[in-house]
Each structure stands twice: as C-alpha cells, then as structure tokens.
Amino acid sequence: MTTTDVPARTARPSRPAVPKRRPRREREGAAWVFLSPWVLGATVLTLLPMAVSLYLSFTDYDLFNPPRWVGLRNYTQMFTEDPRYWRSVLTTLTYVVLAVPLQLALALLVAIALKSMKRGKAFYRSAFYAPSLLGASMSIALVWRAVFNDGGTVDNLFGTGGWVNKPGWALLAVALLTVWQFGAPMVIFLAGLQQIPAELYEAAAVDGAGTWRQFLSVTVPMLSPVLFFNLVLQTIQAFQVFTPAFAVSAGKGGPADSTLVYTLYLYDRGFVASHMGYASAMAWVLLLVIGAVTVVLFRTSRSWVFYASDTDGGAR
C-alpha cells in the first residue's frame, strides 16, 4: 500500500486548495489507520461476541447442538423458576454493600495518612499498592482460602474455626480479599488530596476548625469528585466480582451457596451446566443492572459532589 500512496502525495501540490492543512477526509483516513488495531480488537473481541451473546440469550444452547430459539424463556425461567438465581442476586448485593464502603474507607484513611507523611512516602505508597498487584492473582486467592480455612491462620489466632466453611462468614472472607486491594483508589485519593489548596486548611484553622472539622468541611467536599469517581468504579467492579469468590470457595460458591455471587453462578450455568443461552441472558441482565445502578449513582451525585469549577466560574 505504501507504494500506491506515494503518487497520491506527489500529486497533491497541483491541487489549488488549502496548502498546509490536509483535507478533512484524508486526516480522518489516517486516524482510522491508527485506530484500526483497536477497532479491530474491539469489533472482533468485544462487539461481535456481545452481539452473539445477545442472540444466544434467546436460545437454548449447550455447545454441542446448534442454538435453538426459545424466545424469552431464559429470562422468565431466571425470574420465576430459579430460587438459586435470586439467592445469587442477594449474595452479590450483600457483597457490594459490604466490600465497596470498606474498601473506599480504608483507601481514604491510608491516603490521608500517607499525605501527611514527611519521609518514606514513596516506599509506603508502593507497599500499600502491592496487594492490588498481587491480589488479583489466583495464587493469592488460594492463599486466602488457606488462611481462612480450618486450621488456618485465622482459626489458630482467634479459634473461630475456618471462615470459608461457615455460611455466615465466608462472604466476609471474600470481601476482605477485595478490601485488601485498595491500592488503586488509594492512589487516586492521594492525588486528589494533594490537589486541595493548603490555604483552605489554613483559613479553616484560622476560623478555629479542628482536624475533624477540617476533614468534614474541607477535605470531603473538595475530594467529592474523586470520591464519586472511585465509588462508581469500585461499584461496577464489585458487581462483577468473580476470582476471589471462585478461589475462596474452591469454585463451588459454597458453603450453602453463601459465596455464590452472580458471575460465579453465571459461570456455573454456562461452563459447568452447559446452558450457554441461560448464562448469556444472565450476563445481559447484569449489564443492564450495572448500567442502572451507575445512572442512579450519577443522579445522586448532583446533590453531594462538589466541583470546584462550579463556583470558580471556570477560573482554574
């Protein structure tokens, strides 16, 4: 193709039009060439599979026989005939409500502590970030299972027995694995904290505000856009939790379905029970629910997220 491009380029000066700026269409063309790896990847690896999965969600497909159109049956079965589905929804909601606030609180706490550090900030920042790099791996999740199992560290220290075998506690063990990976929101919080102008704290101190007051009246409002960003991101991720639940329950979502989160049940229906149609339907419902939750979060954000530029009139 490069050889055919050459005459096109040499021919250009003969054209009368704008000499310096290339025509819009041509610039777009170049953009498409540079975009093509991504466009190709997105189409072949994301959009096409999504379209196929949407189609499959209206079929009965066991991987072996061709998909058979069943209309809305997967959806009606999910909502009306599958008690385990609703248990998995409840488990996932519990998990989100448990893991997200805990993780954000811990991330914020550590970020504040780091901000006020005089020395060794870089070291501790890396140290606290490390679990986020390790924690996503299967091996750490397996270690987690061992730590919380019968005869594991937690059992030996507190004599509580293995959490992973107690329906009331297993989900907490899964949530703690996520909470521990607070590195990403922590770094974002830290960046946000460093953006808050020092004079605001000085002014507050002059007005007689203590540490707690300063936190509530300066830090929280100034940080609210970052807080909101982290909240949305972590909530979306929490709804899709899979690896920790899979590993901590040894792939079964037990005991007594207590860690059978939505995606784990989806995986079970698709790859263990070979109901790909049903699993696809579950995936689409999850997508819609996450979308809806995100919209709700954005709506509520209007009343509590404070953008400095609103009052500054865009001065910054």
Binding site: M1, G161, P167, A250, A256, D257, A273
Partner: protein, 427 residues
C-alpha cells in the same frame, strides 16, 4: 480519492490480520514433516495415571512407527470444561477419555465417531457385553469402556479394628451401616464416615437398593421428592447425632481423597469409588480396606459395576483408523494392560482381566480382589445418565448443603431439587 483508498487499505489490512490469526488457530497439524500421522489423545487423572499412560503410549508408538501421539491431561473439572469447548469448536482430540455422564451429550452432539465403522481394527469381542452396552447411545457404539469401577466403603483398618466395632461384612444393610457409624463415633470420638447425603452416587446406591433408579429409561427422573426426603432425613439425623461428618467438613469435599474427612483424619471411613481410593494409602500408612456398599433392607444390592471411564474417537478426526488402533491398543493389548494396571479401574477385557489380574500388585490387587468378591452378586448397570446429570450432580450437593447447614428441611431441599432436576432434564 485518498479517503477511499484508505478504507480499502483498512479492509485489506484487517483481512490480512484476520488471516494471520485464523492461520495461527488452525495450527493443529495432522502430520509432521517426516510423514507421521499425529494423533491427539487427552484424559483426566492424577500423576500416577499420567505416568502409566505415557508409558503405554510410548509402547504404542514403538509398535506403530508411523504414528505419533500427542498427549495431554488435567484434573477432571478442568478437563471437562476444556473438552466441551474444544468439541463445540469442532476441534475435539482424535482420541478422548470420556465420563459416563458425557457420553449422551457428546454422542447426540455429533462429536463422536460410530466405532462400528472401525471394527476391523477395534475389537470388542472380549469385553463384558453388559459393560460394552454402556457405551451405546440409541444402539450406536460411540465409546468403549476402559475400566470398571464400583463404589465402596473404604475404611481405616487399624482404627476400626481397635475400636472393637465389628468389621463390615458382605450383605450389610443401610441400617447396619448406620449402627456401625454410631458405634464408631461413640468409641472413637469422631464421626464414622463422610456424610453420604451430599453424594448423588451414594444416593443412587441407596435408591437402587429400594428397587428404584436415578433416571427412567427415557431419561426422566426415576424417583420422587418423597424418596429424596427419606434419604436426606436419614443422613441428616446421623449428622445431628455426630455419626457422620459435620457440614463444615462435608462442604470441603472436592473429589480428591485428601479433602475427605477420612483423608483429614476426621473420620474412620468414606464412601468412594474403588480405584481412586488408592490415594488413601499415602495418607493412612497403617492401611485401608474396601467393604461393599450397604444394600437395601431386603438384601437388594444397590451398587453396580460402572464403566469407570470411556474412550471415544472424534467424528472429525482425519485418521479414524489410527485413532481406533490406539483405542484397541489401550483396551486389548496385554502389555499395555500390564503397564496401566488398575489405574483406570479393573480392565474390561475379560481375557486380560483373567491373565493380568493375578499379577496385579499392591492396591491394584486390593481393588481386583474387592471386585471379584462382588462378581455375580450385582445387578446390571443403568444406561448412561441423560446429559443434564452433569449439572445435577453439583445441584445435588448444593441442595444438601442447605440441609446440613440447617437452612432448609430435608423436605424443602428435596422438593427444590426435584423442581430443578425436572427443569434441567426438560431442556
């Protein structure tokens, strides 16, 4: 126009990349440069089975210098999922090990070759006819059983003997078994056995002892919620009494012997398949023994000789003859049988069983002796379970978890299971 040219460029670039990608995917070459036929052969199992299989395959390659066999194996759960994905993509291995639960699904999905087409190289005449029939779906022989296994009560000999509780005997009933478990628990201070309530296999033995079956001949549920309620009430009571393992122990079962209560030193016995019970020897150095499963109250035996695994040939294979030769070798070759021993259960070839049987060593011999003690007393195996059974096995465990953690009554859980099973079998 330059714009158009660029679009054309994009399209051809995309096409090029696609071609490259697809070529990369289709690289499972059929023959090597030296003109050898390459067969892919996959199975699941533990390292012991893998080592013996590799030896047998090496022998096959020696006998057939024009064939090279690529092998791969993994644990059962991983194997099952990988094989299903490969099969769905039309890329099933030439020779594959299959479970009883997979036969129906794979046969009806046109994944498997009709083995009768290759009967000139694949001999089945020396295989027990009842067992051979288990590899048929709708009258077509899609797979050949490779070994046979049966369920057993495997127990820690020393602990049981020291406790003074009479050892299990042939013909014992579920009531005898329950009494023994209570007695063991009382004298040893720990549960007598794994809670069998979670096991669809144990339930099947109990059910057959009552003259019923898991599935009817047309692949529907062969029992009612009342039957299951009775079974779960029976096991639930034993659990509450401490005669069988508590929920926290039972829920940790994952198919490996190491994670059973017996393997953890938390119980005296386990109900398991006979060949895999060899794993207990490494954990319990004083030795384990195999006893028959309890029978129904009127003496009806519930257990049966089950094909422990099958060999099938892919319908898409380019080398059906060589693939069939490999299957024939693994099943009918005497030297192969000596190498493989009882790693996949006792050989199905009756001539080989008689010849190789007496020379089996160690636990292979224990299993062989156990099976010959049952010879002639058991009823015919049921036909291959319907494809939904694959998923139902897990559902069964899950529903019983609700019982053993006391979140549901046996009745509620049993009714749940029957509803789920009916939906599963309908689709």
């Amino acid at each position: 126009m330059p714009g158009h040219r660029t679009k054309g460029f994009c399209a051809s670039a995309a096409a090029l990349v696609l071609c490259a990608v697809l070529a990369g995917c289709g690289g499972s070459g059929d023959s090597t440069g030296d003109g050898k036929v390459v067969l892919r052969y996959t199975w699941w199992g533990n390292p012991d089975r893998a080592e013996r299989t590799e030896q047998a395959v090496a022998l096959f390659e020696k006998q057939h210098p024009d064939v090279r066999v690529q092998t791969s194996f993994s644990g059962y759960d991983a194997y099952k999922q990988k094989l299903a994905t490969q099969a769905a993509g039309g890329d099933a291995p030439d020779v594959m090990q299959l479970d009883y639960r997979q036969i129906d699904q794979y046969a009806s999905g046109d994944v498997l070759l009709d083995l009768a087409q290759q009967k000139s190289v694949l001999r089945t005449s020396e295989i027990d006819q009842g067992l051979l029939a288990t590899g048929r779906v709708d009258g077509t022989q899609y797979a050949v059983p490779q070994g046979r296994g049966t369920e057993t009560v495997v127990y820690d000999v020393k602990t049981w003997q020291d406790s003074g509780v009479p050892l299990p005997h042939e013909g014992w009933t579920w009531d005898d078994w329950a009494d023994a478990m209570r007695e063991l628990a009382r004298r040893t201070g720990r549960p007598g056995a794994t809670d069998p309530g979670q096991s669809e296999d144990a339930f099947e033995v109990w059910l057959r002892g009552r003259g019923k079956s898991l599935y009817t001949e047309d692949g529907r549920l062969g029992f009612t919620a009342d039957d299951l309620t009775r079974w779960w009430t029976f096991t639930d009571r034993l659990r509450r009494e401490g005669a069988v393992s508590p929920a926290e122990q039972t829920t940790q079962l994952d198919g490996s012997v190491e994670n059973t209560p017996l393997g953890r030193g938390k119980a005296t016995s386990d109900t398991n398949w006979d060949a895999p019970s060899s794993g207990y020897l490494a954990i319990i150095p004083t030795g384990v023994a195999l006893a028959p499963m309890p029978s129904g109250e009127d003496g009806t035996p519930g257990q049966y000789f089950k094909p422990s695994m099958f060999l099938g040939v892919s319908a898409n294979t380019d080398h059906p003859k060589e693939a069939a030769q490999l299957v024939d070798f693994l099943i009918n070759d005497r030297e192969a049988a000596e190498i493989l021993g009882a790693s996949r259960g006792i050989p199905v070839n009756e001539t080989i069983r008689e010849e190789v049987g007496p020379r089996l060593k160690d636990f292979d011999k224990t299993v062989a002796d156990y099976q010959s003690s049952l010879e002639g007393t058991l009823k015919d195996p049921p036909q291959a379970p319907p494809s939904g059974d694959n998923a139902l096995q897990t559902t069964f465990q899950r529903d019983y978890d609700q019982v053993s953690y006391e979140r549901m009554s046996p009745r509620e859980a049993a009714e749940n299971y029957v509803t789920e099973a009916k939906a599963e079998l309908r689709s």
